[in-house]
């Protein structure tokens, strides 16, 4: 063991660091696929150990994700949300800011959208034009609310030196608890038996073209692609994006080149929160139609961290990673109905994916040992 170690570590430390930073795109894709495959494999072994038929489970995962037109629509619906929240995470992580609070920003954005549309709905005539006005207004409110909720931990970090990992996690708990209280109390629908807000007006809804699924619209998919493109352009083609990514890699270099570190942290968090808020708005307009207790809304903002990491925080890479998670989520709802395997197994598998993505050296070692890596030194 020590023999091979001295062999591969013979080079200078700097070379290793450089290799970590400049890991080629191909290698990243390889690590992503390997992490996912290993996590799924462990999931299947656990399913078998728990007394289930793992081949059947694997088959159900596939059928549940892509097996029918309905399954595909369900997969795409979740994919739009995972990709957009994933982009929100990627923006921040690339800038070296660990925004774990996308879930909270997503909840605050979505809830604000519902409340603002319901409020304005009383003054706007029903009809297609009224609906569009309401949607644009509600989305704008959602984006601003998400952005502000994201900027808050940015301000705390910039001026109070508060670690953003912990503040954003706390803000997630606060968003869930506070919005949950608002939905149950002040903003609860009086006529509803379940805990939820009033429904959005009939005129609010996205057109159903191409897909038959009532909760999936081509507009949502286009919005997702637009956000990916916009963020990718901002990050690679603008001064702001350049400064942001430089701050992520080497903050002292960024400071020397005249970047205001405090402002950079705040604007990064605000941008990340705005994307999360936009996702929240799309979620309520396209899928839910009202707001419920956020503790039962799904962990999109948390899984988004896994999506972004799997994509090496690259906004374009988030597309396939988001599709994987959309597929897993869709498969989860299939498994829940058609199998007695507890669906939480899939959440555990997601956790394993993240764990393996965090340790690329593990796969480099495996690749080197098995000779699959080829030229890995």
């Amino acid at each position: 063991m020590s023999g091979s170690e001295t062999g591969s570590d013979g080079g200078a430390l700097g070379a290793l660091a450089a290799r970590l930073l400049d890991a080629s795109v191909l290698e990243r894709i390889g690590i992503g696929i390997a992490s996912t495959a290993l996590a799924l494999l462990i999931g299947l072994v656990i399913a078998a150990a728990a007394g289930y038929d793992s081949i059947r489970f694997a088959n159900q995962l596939l059928v549940g994700a892509f097996g029918s037109e309905r399954a595909i629509a369900r997969t795409l619906r979740s994919t739009t949300i995972f990709v957009m929240t994933g982009v929100a995470v990627a923006v921040a992580f690339r800038a070296g800011v660990f925004n774990i609070g996308v879930q909270g920003q997503f909840v605050v954005g979505g809830f604000s959208t519902v409340v603002s549309i319901v409020w304005l709905g009383a003054f706007v005539p029903s009809g297609a034009v009224g609906g569009i006005v309401l949607m644009l207004f509600g989305t704008a409110v959602g984006v601003v609310a998400g952005g502000l909720y994201g900027a808050l931990p940015g301000v705390m970090k910039a001026y109070g030196d508060a670690n953003e990992i912990i503040t954003t996690i706390m803000l997630n708990f606060i968003a869930t608890g506070f919005v949950g209280w608002l939905v149950a109390g002040p903003f609860g629908a009086p006529e509803a038996t379940a805990t939820r807000t009033r429904r959005l007006p009939e005129s609010v809804g996205l057109p159903q073209v191409v897909f038959g699924d009532p909760n999936l619209s081509i507009v949502g998919i286009l919005l997702m692609l637009g956000v990916v493109a916009l963020i990718a352009v901002i990050m690679t083609r603008t001064r702001f994006g350049y400064d942001m990514v430089t701050s992520g890699y080497q903050d002292t270099a960024a400071t020397y080149s005249g970047v205001d570190a405090k402002r950079m942290v705040i604007s990064t968090m605000a941008l990340s929160g705005m994307v999360a808020g936009l996702t929240g708005a799309l979620f309520v307009i396209m899928i839910q139609g009202y707001y419920t207790d956020p503790s039962g809304i799904g962990n999109y903002g948390f899984d988004a961290i896994a999506v972004s990491l799997l994509a090496a925080n690259n906004p374009v890479g988030v597309l396939p990673a988001g599709l994987l998670f959309g597929g897993l989520e869709s498969a989860g709802s299939h498994v829940q109905i058609n199998s007695d395997i507890p669906v939480q197994l899939i959440d555990g598998i997601v956790g394993l994916v993240v764990l393996f993505v965090a340790a690329p050296e593990l796969f480099r070692m495996i690749a080197a040992r098995t000779g699959l890596g080829g030229d890995a030194e």
Binding site: I166, T167, I169, F173, G177, F178, P342, Q344, G348, G351
Partner: protein, 337 residues
């Protein structure tokens, strides 16, 4: 040295501010709302606060040892979930829905053993394979959030367990685990500041090259502290369960952010086990205020009062974020040959 003196002054000032705010709050409640303060702060409140504080304090001590040695273990929350679940599962396996006190103690030991084993894997990923400490720590949380409710569903057919049993009180109405925690806090302090091994831990986080030169294997020290941190978080989860008496696996599980609060507790306590325990007690008391409010008749939604610890964490971190973080936290150590 002047830096740490400055920080001590800041800490005292913050402590003073906290006391003033609490006194003002008490005055407002007593005068404005006509609340009888003696009914608000009762022996039961002290007991509940201590019970709530112990899991946080235990995880915080583990976390501060790891971070002192240069490894940021943000997986505490995940290890607490695994510890709580393992305790419930073992109790159920040994004694069904009516386990004895012996079963409770056995379950706590099993939970510590299981989390210790899992942390060994985690430590290997972090130290041997230089995994990103932040991402891997988050992954532990996700793994706990997924597999604990999964296993619960396998055993009980639901993400939560049926009622099992609580640990009996030992003296003064307190559980033996509270006393155990107090002892552990003291031992952790002595070990860290008064023994050679404690100095090794501090050196591993401040100046690993010097420690290496002195002939101590830096990574072995770090393995020890990371495994210890996982074991302590597992114990924290076990204690949480032994006090609660049943496992809850819905939402963010019964641990519900306490592992994260533990991290803040040791930051607030400036990596000092006694300070971390004091901070844990503050958060534990805030967590239990809603029960007090109800008994006194203050009409506030429990859900809102439950947010108080999280808000307190935000205020504490922002007012007082500049902790003296060990010099090389997060950096893998490479021996130079």
């Amino acid at each position: 040295m002047s830096g740490s003196e400055y920080l001590d002054a800041a800490r005292l000032r913050l402590g003073g501010i906290t006391l003033v705010v609490l006194a003002a709050l008490a005055a407002v409640l007593a005068l404005g709302f006509d609340v009888d303060l003696s009914r608000l702060i009762t022996w039961g409140f002290v007991t509940r606060s201590l019970e709530m504080a112990t899991p946080i304090a235990l995880a915080a001590i583990g976390g501060l040892y790891a971070e002192k040695s240069g490894v940021f273990n943000i997986g505490l929350e995940g290890f607490m979930i695994i510890g709580a679940f393992t305790t419930a599962g073992t109790m159920f396996a040994l004694g069904g829905t009516s386990p004895t006190q012996g079963h409770v103690w056995a379950a706590i030991l099993v939970a510590v053993a299981v989390t210790t084993l899992l942390t060994v894997i985690f430590a290997v990923l972090l130290i041997r394979y230089k995994a990103d400490q932040i991402v891997a720590g988050l992954a532990v949380w996700f793994v706990g959030l997924g597999f604990a409710p999964f296993a619960a569903a396998l055993i009980w057919g639901s993400r939560s367990s049926p009622g099992l049993t609580n640990i009996n009180e030992l003296a003064l109405g307190q559980s033996p685990l509270v006393f155990l925690t107090i002892v552990l806090v003291g031992v952790a302090w002595v070990f860290l500041y008064r023994t050679r091994y404690g100095y090794w831990i501090q050196a591993a986080g401040e100046n690993p090259e010097a420690l290496d030169t002195a002939g101590v294997d830096v990574n072995r020290v770090r393995y020890a502290t990371v495994v210890f941190s996982g074991a302590m978080a597992g114990l924290g989860g076990a204690v949480l369960l032994a006090h609660a008496g049943n496992f809850v696996g819905t939402g963010s599980t019964m641990v519900d952010g306490r592992g994260w609060i533990a991290i803040v507790a040791y930051l607030f306590g400036n990596y000092n086990p006694v300070g971390a325990a004091a901070a844990a007690l503050l958060f534990g008391a805030l967590d239990m205020l809603n029960v007090q409010f109800q008994t006194v008749g203050i009409e506030v939604s429990a859900r809102l009062v439950n947010l108080l610890p999280y808000v307190a964490v935000l205020v504490v971190l922002t007012a007082y974020g500049k902790t003296r973080i060990p010099a090389v936290v997060g950096e893998p150590y490479e021996t130079e040959e």
